[in-house]
Symmetry: C3
Subunit: 285 residues, 3 copies
């Protein structure tokens, strides 16, 4: 059980996030994306706005070879057609073997059988970061049958215990559980909460899926610390969204403004806006 009192915003996390953002822009990591067809466009645009690069290499033969040379890999199970399904496994195997950091986003796993079986096979290849909403994380880690679709019927705290248990050194490197307040868990970081964001992220498609790609981009510059990558990626994504929402007239105008903010976000913006709290005792709780 978690019994720690609320912790004030951590300046260290904000500084580290700002530094990792500068690292992503300096390095320009190439992120291989095997993701659902609904969000491929916005995913690529989010990566490009961030200063990273995207390559949707999602056919067999190519996927594995590419995962060995890419800076990071994202696998999202949203539209698991036969070819990308096979390519996902091929790429995750190659990433696992080559040490390429990779992110698993098990979209809508639970009652849907094709993607659920696929996500379980992928989980066995030990993703660097597992990212999803609470229903998806619970369904994949064994705590629940999941929701009816892409929308979580559980909150991040419902997945807290399962997430902590999965950072056992054998399952995943870190977890990013999305919700009104995002929950990040890793052995090195404990439980971290990022309270930035806007409800508009749930009124556009890809608000969560694109975050998976952002996490992948950050793992490329902090492969040794997937928890820090997950925290920084989540903070950058949700701060940019929060700032964009201030100028948006609705979910339509929010989208281009969000991309603009991702491209122009400064380290000072990050430090000023970040609402990141930690619970030091969490992983052992």
């Amino acid at each position: 059980m978690h019994t720690a009192a609320p912790v004030p915003p951590s300046p260290d996390w904000a500084d580290r996030t700002a530094a990792l953002l500068e690292g992503v822009r300096a390095r320009g990591p190439l992120v291989q994306c095997i993701t659902n067809t609904v969000v491929q466009n916005v995913t690529a645009n989010v990566l490009l706005a961030l200063g990273a690069f995207a390559a949707m290499v999602d056919v067999t033969t190519e996927a594995g070879a590419f995962a060995r040379v890419a800076d990071a890999l994202l696998v999202n199970t949203g539209t698991p057609h036969p070819e990308p399904r096979a390519a996902s496994l091929e790429a995750a195997h190659a990433a696992h073997d080559a040490g390429t950091p990779w992110v698993l986003d098990p979209v809508a796993v639970g009652s849907l059988p094709v993607r659920t079986a696929l996500a379980r096979d992928l989980l066995a290849l030990r993703p660097t970061v597992l990212r999803g909403n609470a229903s998806e994380v619970l369904a994949l880690l064994g705590g629940s049958a999941g929701g009816r679709g892409v929308d979580s019927t559980a909150g991040p705290d419902d997945a807290r215990a399962a997430a902590v248990a999965a950072t056992d050194g054998r399952t995943v490197g870190a977890l990013a559980v999305s919700g009104p307040v995002d929950l990040l868990v890793a052995p090195g970081t404990g439980v971290v909460r990022v309270a930035n964001g806007t409800p508009l992220l749930t009124r556009i498609t890809g608000g969560g899926c694109a975050l998976g790609a952002v996490v992948a981009a950050f793992t490329a510059v902090a492969p040794e610390d997937p928890g820090a990558a997950a925290v920084a990626a989540t903070a950058v994504h949700t701060i940019a969204a929060e700032l964009a929402a201030r100028d948006a007239g609705g979910p339509g105008t929010f989208q281009p403004l969000f991309l603009d903010r991702l491209a122009t976000l400064t380290p000072e913006d990050v430090v000023r806006e970040a609402r990141i709290t930690t619970e030091p005792t969490a992983v052992s709780a």
Copy 2:
């Protein structure tokens, strides 16, 4: 033959449209979409802006199971690859059996053989609403060989007789024929025309395809009256577009403004802007 004099705008239809819009927002229906890859993103965004939810479950095994629990189903034949083709039939069969309302959008049927055969198989499963342009509706219902592509070479009135004939209680529940003035036909509603809209809807991709998803969302809250759902969905879609066009600098800025308007459209906007007329004698004509 249609000989009735023009009828003034019907306040009843405007009120009913406003009420159904509020019903969609209150219920938040989950719409399963099996649609072409070109418009998947805009289709999901239109549903989310409207207050509905989208799930692109378009692989076999999953598609049928999901159609039994979804609130509505859209099947669009725009890019009929083998996997979504099989998933379409599986989902439509399940929707038919389970009573899930579903919409068929037979994109570009006529001379293109794969989608035309698919659309005919789907039509046999009695869609709740058939939505398309006049060329597509005529091609599918037997009145014409269709156009060269997605652009109609016929106007809605060319499809009027075929549409009326198809509301025979055995073919479809209702028809929505798109054009400069949209034509809606159902046994309970007769022939209804919605004169809202903007030419900009034809200068973006998905202007019509996304309407199919909006119609599906409305059938979820009025499953007993597919004609009313089709009228209300068409009016909401085209009024939002018309209002957005007033502020747009072209087809690019029109798109985000259209999504904003879908999200913020009030019942008062609907009542004030709706240009809906009826032809009471139409179905028997």
Copy 3:
């Protein structure tokens, strides 16, 4: 070797570009697109904004039949799944046989084996225009193994000799090599450079891929002169982008403004903004 001194902007090319733009708008060519799933939406929107029409007919049986009646064809190898791969070859064969002008965009060819083999098979069907970045053009024409992904590690001038050699009357009709300054090569035009554009075109996905579709649209109105079509398409695309960039706050707001500019660009804009230079001796160099 190219030793000619820089040539001042050519008023003839600007005038010709403006005239071809008016031709595209008057004709409204229907462009069949077999392109990667990441950019299908933006590709269709760019064509519609320009005044052309898009049809993503990318399944076998349909693809070849459609290529015989379409005004132009685009084949882009970005996501070479089995079905569109087969459809690409079917369509290119049909275009070759029927005299439909067609554009090959060999996205990320080089080290990735599936698309590289496909692009070589397609090249044998003599595309009207070959469009790509320098790495892709070099990889396909035999000068290099290509880059790691979609981003060119070479500049257009690195591909100049290979491009000139490929306009031998047997390989391709014309070449469009993208870069900070685009390089266009054809027997009738020599080497032409278009210096318009904006770095924002590289910060959105589809900035280059959509240009392939624009080139296809222009070949439909100048099938006898693929070099002129390539120059005009490149100039229109990059001038619209350059004007849009002046009002954009980043890559997000750039996209809708770019579509608006494509839709509203006047012949006067083209003549005023075009920075097109020629090197008359280039092809024989």
